[in-house]
Symmetry: C2
Subunit: 155 residues, 2 copies
């Protein structure tokens, strides 16, 4: 995506960041398809990780991914259709449906992690592991705590 001239170093930086993301994700996505996970979309992978990390209801997943609960519910429905998660009623709260990662979902996460780490390792070889570590540390600092607004409290 995007190789344009920009005449703005700020806009160029934005494109570099997006390009970096796409470079990683495209490669992982292609390789996942070859290994028996054809239908899966990049967004599904990240959502599945969030579910596994504890976002086991649609509302909670929405909050973690900063999307509406409806969007999260749609993602969960897709993951369920592909057999990556299943849903069961929460015994302690009849409103909730608890989302659990299935063995097949766990397999996707394992392969996905390996593929992402693979790309990262090749990057480490190209610019040096300590340089990559510094890059990550800087990015983490620059993106943390993206200032709350009133909108973040809705829904």
């Amino acid at each position: 995506m995007i190789v344009a001239m920009t005449q703005s170093s700020g806009a160029e930086l934005a494109l570099l960041l997006l390009g970096g993301f796409h470079t990683m994700v495209d490669e992982v996505h292609v390789e996942l398809a070859k290994r028996g996970h054809e239908g899966v979309r990049p967004a599904h992978e990240f959502a599945l990780r969030a579910v596994d990390a504890g976002a086991d209801t649609a509302s909670e997943l929405g909050r973690r991914l900063s999307v509406t609960k409806q969007a999260a519910a749609q993602t969960i429905a897709a993951l369920e259709e592909f057999g990556y998660v299943n849903r069961e009623p929460d015994p302690g709260d009849a409103r909730r449906k608890r989302v659990r990662v299935t063995p097949r979902g766990r397999e996707l996460m394992t392969i996905g992690s390996a593929l992402f780490d693979d790309v990262r390792n090749r990057w480490a070889v190209r610019i040096g592991p300590e340089q990559l570590g510094t890059l990550e540390a800087h990015l983490a600092r620059l993106t943390e705590r993206r200032s709350f607004t009133a909108e973040d409290l809705q829904d």
Copy 2:
């Protein structure tokens, strides 16, 4: 957008890159709306820059942005509707319609560049200008020439 645990440093890196992009774009987008460019979507800004940089037909714009010519034509139609570009027949080739950036389009680019540069400058203050330069240089290396495939030749 996304604060999930991942248990994979590769996947975390991908999220950092996407988060960085979003952090920049969201801020610019909000500020643009305040300054009289309400309808504009983030993608439009980058497309407009590509047009200005010489991608003055739908097909060419598609190639530069790595999307289909149809997608590029839709983007151009949106830009035209908002008054950021206009189209006129190419005198030398009756198939082509030449896309030109209007004064209002140029204003958008100017403001957009300033806002992006503003974010970048604040980042430079936070981690140091030379560190940011290194980060950009590394990203540029890691994303350059994302290996051609047969698909790139179609359409």
